[in-house]
């Protein structure tokens, strides 16, 4: 089998990358390989609204947002295969399997990695206790409720105040369950304020900051969990334990980019993002292999995934056409004080697709502080931000012309007043 570009994953990143690549060059043969039995990825189970404000200037639900993209595939001649799992990736070929073709190879000119992310499971959180039924990651529960139409439980405690956890607190409540508490290990929530208000406060669900689950009880099905307050080092404080009777514990404790394929292919991974190291074109350390969306770094807004993936898709299309790699200078993007990571890691000004967007996350909560951008130690931007939190992705946009002449290093840092 052959294709010019193979897109690994048909979720929001894959759809946007495929469409942008086809629009960049309508002669390209683009193939999306999707492991589920429908396109759209996680959007299918995100039936709440709030998607698309940036992309379509209206608030859509997840399935509607996905449908807007899917509707363009046929016109653009983009092919896709469902129930198809990619097993191996290289810059010029992808190996996959499905029930119809068996194991097959696709020879290709470029690959875009759009595998998304997975949730951190109970096992990775070292939560003590028994192992009864009734412990779910929030996303698994979301699939059961929203797609399959089953109730994971009736009395619920949620650990982790990430957005999926908050959204599920509301969904479970609306479907008739009692959500007794949301516990958050950190002294702040990683979720959007809007979700805290509309998913918890609206229903008087308590959000317990600096709390964690220290025991799970129940031999067959969860019968209760014990929660406790934690100290500054996130260690439970003895004497603060309280037992909450419930039949379900949902976990919303972080997302991990799914880079097993990338790692096996030899793609360099950034330990801060758990995603590939990429340049301005979202090209990984393997030429011709691109990455975008949550496989690259976990986003909080799907609109940003689509925008970023569009850039990656266009870059892949140009790569297939030109086979050329920019010969200009390479700028290194570095994280300074307060910045946990930046994407991209390097920039070739010759290859820039419009303005340079550098996305980053902070390592903590900063109030009334400044984002500084330094070119080789010289301050080029000093922007005041009333608040910066790890839960909200930040970005700086640098005009292409401002990068001439190119510095050898761009440093992003956060300075408190």
């Amino acid at each position: 089998m052959k294709a010019d570009i193979v897109i690994v994953g048909g979720g929001p990143a894959g759809l946007a990358a495929a469409i942008a690549a086809a629009k960049e060059d309508n002669t390209l043969d683009i193939l999306i390989l999707e492991r589920d039995h429908e396109l759209g990825g996680i959007l299918n189970q995100c039936i709440h609204n709030g998607f698309g404000l940036h992309t379509f200037n209206e608030e859509l639900t997840g399935p509607e947002y996905a449908a807007r993209f899917e509707a363009q595939l046929d016109d653009l001649g983009i092919r896709y295969m469902l129930d198809t799992m990619v097993l191996d990736v290289a810059s010029d070929s992808v190996t996959a399997v499905n029930g119809k073709e068996g194991v097959f190879n696709v020879d290709c000119g470029a690959v875009v990695l759009c595998m998304g992310c997975r949730e951190r499971p109970r096992g990775a959180l070292n939560i003590p206790g028994l192992r009864p039924a009734g412990v779910f990651t929030a996303g698994t529960a979301q699939r059961l409720v929203n797609i399959e139409g089953y109730m994971p439980g009736k009395e619920v405690v949620i650990l982790g105040s990430g957005d999926i956890g908050l959204i599920m607190a509301r969904r479970m409540t609306l479907e008739g369950a009692k959500v007794k508490a949301v516990c958050e290990l950190m002294p702040y929530s990683g979720g959007l304020k809007r979700n805290i208000v509309q998913c918890l406060d609206d229903f008087e669900i308590p959000l317990l900051l600096s709390h964690t689950v220290v025991d799970i009880k129940g031999k067959e099905r969860v019968s209760s969990v014990v929660i406790a307050e934690v100290d500054e080092r996130s260690k439970p404080i003895p004497g603060t334990e309280q037992e909450i009777s419930c039949d379900t514990l949902l976990l919303s404790c972080g997302l991990i980019p799914e880079n097993e394929l990338s790692r096996e292919a030899g793609v360099e991974i950034n330990p801060a993002t758990n995603g590939p190291v990429v340049n301005e074109s979202f090209e990984t350390s393997i030429p011709g292999v691109f990455a975008c969306g949550n496989v690259l770094h976990v986003h909080d807004l799907v609109d940003y995934v689509s925008e970023e993936s569009g850039r990656a898709g266009r870059a892949a299309a140009r790569y297939v056409k030109n086979r050329g790699n920019g010969s200009g200078p390479v700028i290194k993007v570095k994280n300074g004080a307060g910045v946990r990571y930046t994407v991209p890691s390097t920039v070739r000004t010759s290859e820039l697709d419009g303005d340079l967007v550098i996305r980053f996350r902070s390592g903590g909560v900063y109030r009334d502080s400044y984002i500084d951008v330094l070119f080789d130690g010289v301050n080029k931007m000093h922007r005041r931000k009333p608040i910066i939190t790890p839960g909200e992705m930040e970005q700086v946009i640098l005009k292409k012309e401002d990068l001439e002449p190119a510095p050898s290093e761009i440093l992003i840092s956060i300075a408190e007043k």
Binding site: V97, G99, K100, E101, N126, R131, E148, G149, Y150, E220
Partner: protein, 481 residues
Amino acid sequence: MDNSFDVIIIGAGVTGCAVARELSRYDCSVLVIEKDEDVCCGTSKANSGIVHAGYDAKPGTLKAKMNIRGNEMMTSLCEELDIPFKKIGSLVVCTDEANRGGIEDLYQRGIANGVPGLEILEKDELREIEPNISDDAVCALYAPTAGVICPFRLNAALGECAEQNGVVFRFDTKVIGIRRTDDSWTVVTDKDTYMARAVVNAAGCHADELHNLVSDTKYHITPRRGDYMLLDRSLDGFVKHVIFPQPTKMGKGILVTPTVHGNTLVGPTAIDTDDKDEAPVTSEGLSKVQEGAIKNVKGLPLKQVITGFSGLRAHEDGGEFILEEASGCPGFFDCVGIESPGLTACPAIGEYMALLVSEKLCLVKKDSWNGICRDVIKPFELPAEKRAALIKEHPEYGRIICRCETITEGEIIDSIRRPLGAKSLDGVKRRTRAGMGRCQGGFCSPRVMEILSRELGLPLDSITKSGGDSHIVLGRTKDEG
């Protein structure tokens, strides 16, 4: 229904199933009674998965004999029953020159027990074969005959093989009374009452209670909990052998080992408890596992943990395997105190117990007996051509359900339809590894539930994690009830 059997075996763990398979060679009727919903639900499901070489137990003990014999039998048994087994060798590491004597003692004990190939490796040799060994390591006892095995497949295969040779299994059936009537034994359960000429007590942590029901001699089992951490397969090769610290009186200590499937396993702790049925992981336990692990292996990335679990060892006060006809109870045979090296020893225990029972009942061997039993077909372990043919004929072998472990719908269906097939999510997991990977079933559990529901003809909300009331979902949305 005829509730009369020649032999009743109580417990479908590795011991019970090994005895059942060996007895199925004889012309007799055998019933296995299990309180849980499946084979491999107690001690057999949560252990280190190690085939021990046999240097630990005191020479002359049954523990030593059964370990050595079990180790000898394991290679051919694994071929017959299609059980993943890798003889990777073990190291008992000495990290303090002052304790070198302990390594030498262990070596001598191993020689006395008849363990082949033992060597004491010095620092440099040790580092060569195990690069990530602690810098403090001064020497180690190397035992080439130790290995790692899939405990789930071992248990299931022994059961399946027994079943295909006529052994009857009753699950979700708990023994509540046993009494001697005339020449036979009456076994009362929470479902039916059964009669047998002989009873084999292979009830794990509960074996002392069953024994004490019938015999004047009394045993006492302490459930000794062991916590473990299982690390991601991406660390495959970080350690290459089963790495033990020097043993203490509580056991072999916290080991670090590759599993037969390429994960890294760390544990167990040894904490005496009083609960024979529940084994919660505790934070103290996990801390001890972490402390223990880094003593012998440097730089072990414990952050890559994918799950923690704990199991119970059936520790009898005497510290020895009790494999005999119970005192004053003709035809009542005990397998009591089967803790480590029980997994290694189980084929030998099966052989030994079957001999005792067959002599007692004057059993004769059958003319034909089929000791071969294939595992679930794993398309990704087949050569490309065979796999292509398989998928062409059965497209379900091309549909991946568990992404992390690359497990197909075909494998899951097979695990449900086969003899003593899976009835729950955990049953499927133990037979196929679906849900055992790094996402711990986050993606695949709803799909495995669907397959179970379809194959078993049960509504989705009656599918359980592990039988009983362990329902995964509690009804439908929009339920007007």
